[in-house]
């Protein structure tokens, strides 16, 4: 009886491992950033999110316009570029595909995205082609799962011991954390407790925006790679919950962290 139970348990474990190795599950767990996947562009993801998702889904059927999953295989790149830049021109010119879409979607025309450059449109199409909307950016990973190496990497980025990919200045130029003694600057707020104040998701969003929007064209350029953003988030978490630094990555423990700090969340 005991042997039979053990056999069932092993079979279930093997089945579980097999299922987790299937492509579908792998897709669900995919993460990307600017370093590891050159086709994945955070800028394209942001543009896709702001310009496309109001009317289109990716793999979830028709919304206002067609589902964009597989659009780069259904249509030629050249045609897509023309259509995105000026669907009205294509419709007026009598392009059969454009006319068919126009009539299929209740004669609702897509806006002419004339302000987007060819490169921006191509980046969005590349993003769609690699299944970008299904890819979870690396910085969205919860900082609780960070390894000691990732926290150390974040520490080095914070203090400018390792340069940031896009040339942004190190956080310690203006900010400090308790663990750093006098190393951090005093202009910006102390970030020792920032992870507690913002939590993981809000801090992820916060790190995506540059600190200095006053510099012209700064907002248009890249700021941090997703990997850098995650490492910094992990370091800031380790500063907020210093007692968990030694065991970082071993297990999730946000409620425990609050107990360790002995306080209520703000």
């Amino acid at each position: 009886m005991h042997k039979a139970t053990a056999l069932v348990q092993r079979s279930l474990l093997a089945a579980g491992l097999l299922v987790s190795a299937l492509p579908g599950n792998a897709q669900a767990a995919r993460t990307a950033d600017g370093d590891s996947d050159p086709a994945y562009s955070p800028q394209a993801a942001a543009t896709f999110s702001t310009r496309c998702t109001a009317c289109h889904t990716y793999g979830k059927g028709i919304k206002v316009g067609p589902d964009l999953k597989g659009v780069t295989e259904r249509r030629k790149r050249e045609w897509l570029l023309k259509f995105i830049h000026g669907s009205s021109i294509l419709i007026k010119s009598g392009d059969p595909t454009a006319l068919a879409l126009f009539s299929q979607f209740k004669q609702q025309r897509m806006p002419d995205w004339v302000d987007l450059s060819d490169k921006q449109v191509n980046d969005i199409l590349d993003f769609i082609a690699i299944g970008g909307p299904d890819i979870k950016p690396a910085d969205e990973r919860n900082a609780e799962t960070a390894t000691a190496g990732e926290i150390e990497s974040g520490r080095r980025l914070f203090y400018g011991e390792a340069p940031l990919e896009y040339g942004a200045e190190a956080c310690a130029t203006c900010h400090s954390v308790t663990g750093g003694g006098l190393r951090g600057g005093g202009l910006g707020p102390d970030l020792s407790d920032v992870y507690r104040r913002y939590h993981d998701l809000a801090l992820t969003q916060f790190l995506r925006r540059p600190c200095f929007t006053w510099q012209r064209n700064t907002s248009a350029g890249p700021y941090l790679t997703a990997r850098e953003s995650f490492a910094l988030k992990a370091f800031l978490r380790s500063e907020t919950f210093p007692t968990r630094r030694a065991t970082a990555g071993s297990r999730p423990g946000h409620p425990v962290d609050l107990l360790v700090r002995g306080g209520k969340d703000r």
Binding site: E169, T173, C174, G186, L187, G188, F212, T213, W214, R216
Partner: protein, 242 residues
């Protein structure tokens, strides 16, 4: 007036006042060069203070230049903590010395009776602005540490944008009050110079520069005049008149 407008206009107004005032004072004193020397020595006596004052002020002022003009180099230097502490420590001590010796100078200035009440008053206003700039800078250094680093990415772009004539003031205008006070009082110090006895030093500089450049021109003019009188080129054109 909006905070940002002050940061756009005030620096240009300050330098326009300095330039226009210096030129006007030069024209006013041009015909009285003998008075210039006396007024210069009076101005120097009013402002020179102790040797510590002069050197510490020079160190603090010149220390700002590389930070504002070569911010990348400063950030590279500051990337090593020991170098950052050394740089900040050195200039902090210099600023402390400047504030203490400057206070002594202001105290003496208040008890001084000059030839002109208005000039003495303007000298005091100038020293007051200078002291506000120094003290606010010192407090900023204490309250918001490592200004040489954050200043390189906040104030240096502002100053560079002013020099380019395209002011980008958003962040300068959002700085803490003490940092804004430091910036604006520094420009105020520059703006009042033409109204103080220090302007005679400026006039002296302009006078010296003009004299220096006019001397070779005058020598060349004299040489041409001598040559013309000797060779009389008019004879080539009107020989019958000889």
């Amino acid at each position: 007036m909006k905070n940002s407008s002050v940061f756009v206009l005030w620096p240009y107004v300050a330098f326009a006042l300095l330039l226009a005032g210096a030129v006007l004072r030069t024209f006013m004193m041009w015909r009285h060069p003998s008075e210039l020397a006396a007024q210069k020595s009076e101005a120097w006596a009013a402002i020179r203070g102790s040797r510590l004052w002069r050197w510490s002020l020079l160190v603090v002022l010149t220390g700002h230049l590389p930070a504002l003009l070569f911010p990348r180099a400063i950030l590279r230097w500051n990337s090593v903590p020991a170098r950052l502490y050394a740089l900040e420590g050195f200039f902090f001590v210099a600023a402390c010395v400047a504030v203490i010796s400057g206070s002594v100078l202001v105290w003496k200035q208040l008890g001084r009776s000059g030839s002109s009440l208005l000039a003495s008053a303007m000298d005091t206003v100038f020293l007051a602005f200078l002291m506000v700039a120094l003290v606010s800078g010192l407090v900023v250094a204490v309250r918001y540490r490592w200004g040489s680093s954050w200043g390189a990415i906040t104030m240096a772009p502002y100053v560079n944008s002013l020099l380019r004539g395209e002011p980008v003031v958003d962040f300068a205008a959002q700085m803490p009050f003490l940092a804004r006070l430091h910036t604006l009082s520094s420009f105020a110090t520059i703006a009042v110079i033409p109204f103080t006895r220090l302007s005679t030093l400026l006039v002296g500089l302009i006078y010296g520069a003009v004299t220096l450049t006019s001397r070779p021109l005058a020598a060349a003019g004299n040489a041409v005049g001598t040559w013309l009188s000797k060779h009389n080129p008019g004879a080539l054109f009107w020989p019958e008149e000889d």
